[in-house]
C-alpha cells in the first residue's frame, strides 16, 4: 500500500487532448513545466498528425513514470485510440478521467467508469 507521502507528491493534473481542451485547461492554471534540463510538460497537444504511439507514450509517462501526477485528463476520442491501455489501467492513482472535446461530445457508452459499472452488474 502506498504511503500518505506518496500521494502528497501527486500534485499536478496532466492533460492529453486537442488544442482547445489544453488551452482551456491551461487557462485554469494547471499547466506546469519542470525546471531544466528535463523541461517536462504535464500536457500533450494531440492533433491529426500525432501518432498513437506518442499518445501511448505520454499516457505511460503520466501514469507510471512520473510520480507527481494526481489526475490524468484525456479527451474521450483520444482515449478511444488507446482504449486497450485505458481499459487495462487499474491503479488508483493517478486517476484517469475522460473528458469531452469540442468536436466529440461525451459518450457514456465509452466511459471507462461506466463500463466498470456495467461489468459489475453483469451486463
Amino acid at each position: 500500500m502506498a504511503s500518505q507521502a506518496d500521494f502528497r507528491d501527486r500534485q499536478f493534473l496532466a492533460v492529453i487532448g486537442d488544442e482547445d481542451s489544453i488551452t482551456g485547461l491551461l487557462l485554469a492554471g494547471i499547466g506546469h513545466v519542470t525546471p531544466p534540463p528535463d523541461n517536462q510538460k504535464n500536457f500533450l497537444v494531440v492533433d491529426a498528425k500525432t501518432d498513437n504511439t506518442a499518445i501511448e507514450a505520454a499516457f505511460e509517462r503520466f501514469t507510471n513514470e512520473r510520480k507527481d501526477i494526481g489526475i490524468v485528463l484525456i479527451n474521450q476520442h483520444i482515449a478511444d485510440r488507446i482504449r486497450h491501455r485505458i481499459d487495462t489501467y487499474t491503479q488508483a492513482f493517478p486517476t484517469v478521467l475522460e473528458i469531452p472535446s469540442k468536436d466529440h461530445p461525451y459518450d457514456p457508452e465509452k466511459d471507462s467508469v461506466l463500463r466498470r459499472v456495467r461489468r459489475l452488474f453483469g451486463e
Binding site: L13, D20, G24, L27, A28, I30, T90, A92, F93, T95
Partner: protein, 265 residues
C-alpha cells in the same frame, strides 16, 4: 361548535368495535414480521448506486462547463485581434508553473469506517491563477499597503517604546531594522497574459468555466471514481465469500444426507 363536532357518548361504543374488527381481520402477522436485514452486498450496491448517481450528475455539469468553455474559446478566436491569430499552443509560456495543484488525502485515516481505497482529491489554489490570481494581486496590493503601513506603525511604535524606555536611542534605531520584514507576495502570472495584455472577454469567460471545472467538478469526479473502484472491489469480495459459504453449505447438506442414508441402511 365544539359540542356539535364531538360525537355523542352513546354513539361512540358502537363505532369502536367495527374499527377494531376492521384492523383485526386482515391478520397481517406474517407481514408484520421484521424484514431480514439487508445483506452486505445489498448495502454496498446501494452505496454504489448513490455514488453512480452523483457521478452522472457531475458528468452532466462537466459537459456543460466544457461546452461553454469551447464556445467561449471559439468566440475569442473569432474576434481575435492585436496580432493574435489563434488562441492556442503558439502562445503557451514555456516556463509555466501550476497555479492550481492536486491535494490527495486519505479520508479513511482514523475513521475506521472507510476502506483503504478511500481517497479525497481536492484542487488547491496556489499563488493564484485566473480569478484567484486577480484576487491574489488585489490581496498583494492590500498586503503591500498594509506592510508599508505596518513599517510606519512599527517605526512609530519603536520610537514610542524608545521614548517610554530609558535605554536610549540605540534601541529605537535598531528595532525597525530587526523587525521581520513581511515577505513580498509571490506574483505568478495569469495564464491569460500569455495571449497579451488586453484579452477579449470571451477568453476570460472561458477561463472562468475552466476554473469551475478544474476546482469543483474534476476533483470530485476523481474522488468518486476511486471510491467506486473500492466499492466494486468490496462487492466482488463479498460475492466470493457468499459463493464459498453457499458451496460449503451444500457440501454439509450432502454429507448429512449421506450420513442419514447410512444410518437407515
Amino acid at each position: 361548535m365544539t359540542t356539535s363536532t364531538q360525537p355523542p357518548p352513546s354513539q361512540a361504543p358502537p363505532q369502536e368495535p367495527p374499527q377494531s374488527s376492521s384492523q383485526e381481520p386482515p391478520q397481517d402477522i406474517p407481514q408484520q414480521k421484521p424484514q431480514q436485514p439487508p445483506s452486505e452486498i445489498d448495502t454496498l450496491l446501494a452505496h454504489y448506486l448513490t455514488l453512480l448517481h452523483e457521478y452522472s450528475t457531475l458528468r452532466a455539469s462537466l459537459n456543460t462547463a466544457q461546452a461553454s468553455m469551447y464556445h467561449d474559446i471559439a468566440r475569442a478566436n473569432f474576434c481575435a485581434g492585436g496580432g493574435v491569430r489563434y488562441y492556442g499552443r503558439d502562445y503557451y509560456d514555456g516556463r509555466m508553473k501550476a497555479g492550481r495543484r492536486v491535494r490527495v488525502s486519505l479520508e479513511g485515516e482514523g475513521q475506521g469506517g472507510k476502506g483503504e481505497g478511500d481517497h479525497g482529491v481536492e484542487i488547491e489554489d496556489g499563488e493564484g491563477a485566473g480569478k484567484g490570481e486577480e484576487k491574489g494581486e488585489e490581496k498583494g496590493s492590500v498586503q503591500k499597503g498594509a506592510a508599508e503601513a505596518g513599517e510606519k506603525v512599527s517605526a512609530e511604535g519603536g520610537n514610542k517604546d524608545g521614548e517610554g524606555q530609558d535605554t536610549g536611542e540605540e534601541t529605537t534605531t535598531t528595532t525597525p531594522s530587526q523587525a521581520p520584514k513581511p515577505n513580498p507576495p509571490k506574483r505568478k502570472p495569469n495564464p491569460l497574459t500569455w495571449f497579451g495584455l488586453l484579452t477579449p472577454p470571451p477568453l476570460r469567460n472561458a477561463q472562468s468555466h475552466a476554473v469551475h471545472a478544474v476546482t469543483d467538478l474534476i476533483p470530485r469526479l476523481a474522488t468518486l471514481s476511486t471510491e467506486m473502484a473500492s466499492v466494486e472491489l468490496a462487492v466482488r469480495r463479498a460475492r466470493k465469500r457468499r459463493a464459498k459459504a453457499l458451496k460449503a453449505g451444500k457440501n454439509r447438506v450432502v454429507a448429512i444426507m449421506e450420513g442419514t442414508k447410512r444410518v437407515t441402511e
